[in-house]
Symmetry: C2
Subunit: 256 residues, 2 copies
DNA sequence: CGGATCGTTGAGTTGTATCAAGACGGGTGG
DNA sequence: CCACCCGTCTTGATACAACTCAACGATCCG
């Protein structure tokens, strides 16, 4: 029953397995992609707004953030990148990048040339569909963040963000016993939610005080999953995961 | 010099012309798509959150909005749909819809079956790329709205929204002499910016008082384009239009 | 051990929400 | 054709969520 066959250990396939179905031939083709593997320190730029990259970046290990700055120098984080993600896949069809991408932890990334990706898409239409679908899911997450930032108050907003973080971690096999690796600082949390660092701190203490989570260092532990979900008005539909029920039920076990 | 050949009158081609290049053969194939044309009244749902549509909706005439509701009943508008847009193209690769789509004016729409679209994409890779690119531009706009909602104050936020509305209108040939058809109510404006109707009204009067725009009924007139752009911290890069300079210079003419 | 980054707390300020009520305007029915 | 009605726009008063500024404590790392 466990989906552990010879491919499942690679982060890209874990990620793609969580959102679509691919044949072994297609998976083999993905693993055969030539890529330039690079190790990066934390808080280092990968690509910057205004660049015209000819390759995209597959995140093999670590976490990234995708963000954009206001003219007044305020930063909005648009997305967090998890292992297996290709955070700048959009540059395949968008010549000039309108966002920057940085690491938030030390990362191992693989740069894949756009010709390689285009060739793969034309030879394997299912892979093209999977990549397109992946960018559509990213867009769906952007919309949910817009709803979150525009319409929910900060307390609920943070609860929602953490729910998403947990479900996405779970989907690619990260986290044990209701505890997850959460490397973001409170400043990054604030920039992702459109609130100040100070307020992020206060709201976080609200969640702690309500007994929903504990968060020490980079260890985030869910103490009351149902409570967190309802505080965050969270419905995972927008993540468009396969087997949602399975990953969620395995969550409720250790959480409750 | 004018790009008016036999295809340019159709809204879909005007839209696609603004973001990519297609051959005459591809354009002919697009125009030959079978579609079910329907007239809709204003403020009518087209598809709802939770639907599993087997077709997408090409907007031939009128304006739509794409939105999502909070558990507490607050609405966030994610995007406005212009003539030529396919606001729910994403349903081609996302089984269950996580947003609702409604008209905001009377509309003429053409429903196109997903098999038709898939067939077209497999026969004409350039069309597949154009559609994929279109959804990526939508995502880019979502990100800019996140930045707008999360990091800019209401006055600047509204100025930015109007700048985008004007440039997008301009890109598909709507508007004359700095005047544009803007059918949104102040309530819809507020829901798009994450502020209340009352505050949308006050901020709008701020823009009027600063001499940047006039807006009576559905007629929005730009009085000071450079002023509006700088109030909104607006840079159109994220719209990924072809020939940006051309459409913007023609704007400055009647505007100033 | 010193310095930098991150987390935490307090006090005062400001942007925006809510509630309420009136004015305007366009459509419909008597 | 007028009267009415409903949705939208507008304005005022009050309340609150979140911001800024500032300072201090806790870590971590070199």
């Amino acid at each position: 029953m466990a989906p552990s066959h010879r491919f499942s250990s690679h982060p890209l396939l874990r990620k793609l397995d969580s959102i679509c179905t691919l044949s072994d031939e297609e998976k083999a083709a993905l693993l055969a992609m030539p890529m330039q593997v690079v190790d990066l320190r934390s808080h280092q730029d990968i690509v910057r707004e205004g660049d015209r990259p000819s390759r995209s970046c597959l995140l093999l290990e670590g976490f990234t953030c995708f963000f954009k700055m206001t003219g007044e120098g305020r930063r909005q984080i648009m997305a967090f990148g998890f292992p297996g993600d290709i955070p700048d896949l959009l540059s395949l069809h968008l010549d000039v990048l309108d966002n920057s991408l940085s690491t938030i932890t030390p990362c191992k990334v693989g740069f894949i040339g756009h010709e390689t990706l285009r060739d793969l898409c034309s030879r394997f239409p299912q892979i093209a569909s999977a990549f397109w679908r992946d960018t559509l899911i990213d867009a769906s997450i952007f919309r949910e963040w817009m709803l979150n930032i525009g319409q929910r108050e900060a307390y609920s907003r943070l609860a929602h963000l953490l729910c998403e973080f947990i479900v996405r971690s779970q989907a690619i096999g990260l986290g044990h016993d209701g505890t997850y690796y959460a490397p973001m600082t409170q400043g990054e949390l604030g920039d992702a939610m459109g609130i100040s660092t100070v307020h992020a701190n206060r709201v976080l203490q609200g969640l702690r005080g309500a007994g929903l989570i504990s968060w020490r260092g980079t260890q985030l532990t869910v103490l009351d999953w149902d409570g967190l979900k309802s505080a965050g008005d969270f419905d995972p539909t927008y993540l468009h995961l396969r087997e949602q029920t399975e990953s969620l039920s395995s969550l409720r076990g250790p959480g409750a």
